[in-house]
Homo-oligomer: 291 residues x 2
Amino acid sequence: MQGLLDVVEPSGVTVVGNVGDDLEVAGLHVSPDLDTLLYTLGGVGDEERGWGRAGETWNARDVAAELGAETWFQLGDRDLGLHLARAEALQRGEPLSAVIARFADALGIAAGILPATDDRLRTWVETADGELPFQEWFVRLRHEPDVLGVRFEGAETALPAPGVLEALTEAELIVIAPSNPFVSIGPVLAVREIRDAITNRRVPSVAISPLIGGKAVKGPADRMLSRLKGGTGPFQVTQCYLDLIDALVYDEADGEVELDVRPIVTRTLMTDAASRRRLAEAALEAAAVPR
Amino acid sequence: MQGLLDVVEPSGVTVVGNVGDDLEVAGLHVSPDLDTLLYTLGGVGDEERGWGRAGETWNARDVAAELGAETWFQLGDRDLGLHLARAEALQRGEPLSAVIARFADALGIAAGILPATDDRLRTWVETADGELPFQEWFVRLRHEPDVLGVRFEGAETALPAPGVLEALTEAELIVIAPSNPFVSIGPVLAVREIRDAITNRRVPSVAISPLIGGKAVKGPADRMLSRLKGGTGPFQVTQCYLDLIDALVYDEADGEVELDVRPIVTRTLMTDAASRRRLAEAALEAAAVPR
């Protein structure tokens, strides 16, 4: 995302974020993916940790722990400020998309950030030990239990948030980020009208593989691809996006493979601004791929 | 309270606290009076400010304000930790009294702290501008609008929290703190079984006047006594506690007055441990007053 916003005009970019891993912590609505977008694009994120805010303090969490609360899902003090503001707004009846737009504005973000849906949509993960809410599996159990399947509660009735379909139909290029296809991109695509809009696109669509040499840079994407798609190569990534992409950007470490879509091979590891920019430029090459 | 716990064995003291000024902030249940008791008796309160925790930080509040949230009711970061722990516990179905008992334990408090009730009880204040939730009037409007009356929503059906009636019937002395008779003590007495237990007491009961020379040390008690009871002397304080007390501790600055209960005259301003202790000892004299 940051790389893309370095090479194109940010105000021309709309990011559609996952809400399937949203949860309630002590009654406060938490949107980990949207918040990471807000913090990263607002330049206030903790780059090293990869989530939450830079310069964070943890007084609330420490006191909550002293008083016997569960604190496996950690919220820093500044992060809590956003959560209080969001909880208040949601209680007033402001839709999530409007709240996020206000926050993006307050953080000086020029790109659009939209939740896939304002409706309740929750990712459940089926494991050998039973079905778990996404964050229970991902954070509390450190995504250790093998995933047998994924279910998106509420997806049947969830409608795209205002602006999502417009963004997809007005786009010159649709880019699917190198996130986990099952639990980060999957919940977005589970909203039927979003999936239909991408399936019926008039412009090219490109996905970026989250794999480098068959391994996920972080997280369980490789294990999930292996179990659910039978392998950890670019081909298996494309199998997650049947009919939804015209090109796949993947890492040179994954070699030469036969794909049903146009391959764009580059170095995909993002370690600094230059490598992020290189990857964004590779993805933008897909704009020339015929739909 | 602190003075009393200095002169008697703390484990023999049970404090019944007001929940009428409880409120929800961004969905988090806030119990300002109980929390002040916890913080004060736990030795972690901010003595100068008179509420909240010592050494507090305000990162959450500052971020919430930057993001457009209402922050007239301020929660510090450490204070938020308690609120997160309480919200989680209440959502699990733990009664407020059990939560407060756990927190008191965690803070090393030997005295018992009980909410008057585990049921929902809310103080509404009638002003010339209409009826307001207590904290709207007290904090947001800095208790400036004159109070024409007070209503305790839920009081008709609220039951005493477990332990409250036992504490009242097993006590050797009932002490009503020098808090605002209308909005701090009133909501406790509005729980019918609590009022009945005090009315039918077998032991002496003493109230401490919140006035010094006809003025409240802080807050609107004097203005409320003047408007609702016709004056700001010890007599008017006793009129708030008809049938509920056998003695009144009041300040020597309020002179000699005719009362229906035994007067105990002393200096009531609490500025340090010695003056707190002196006041507590004066209140304990009431143990010898015949019921």
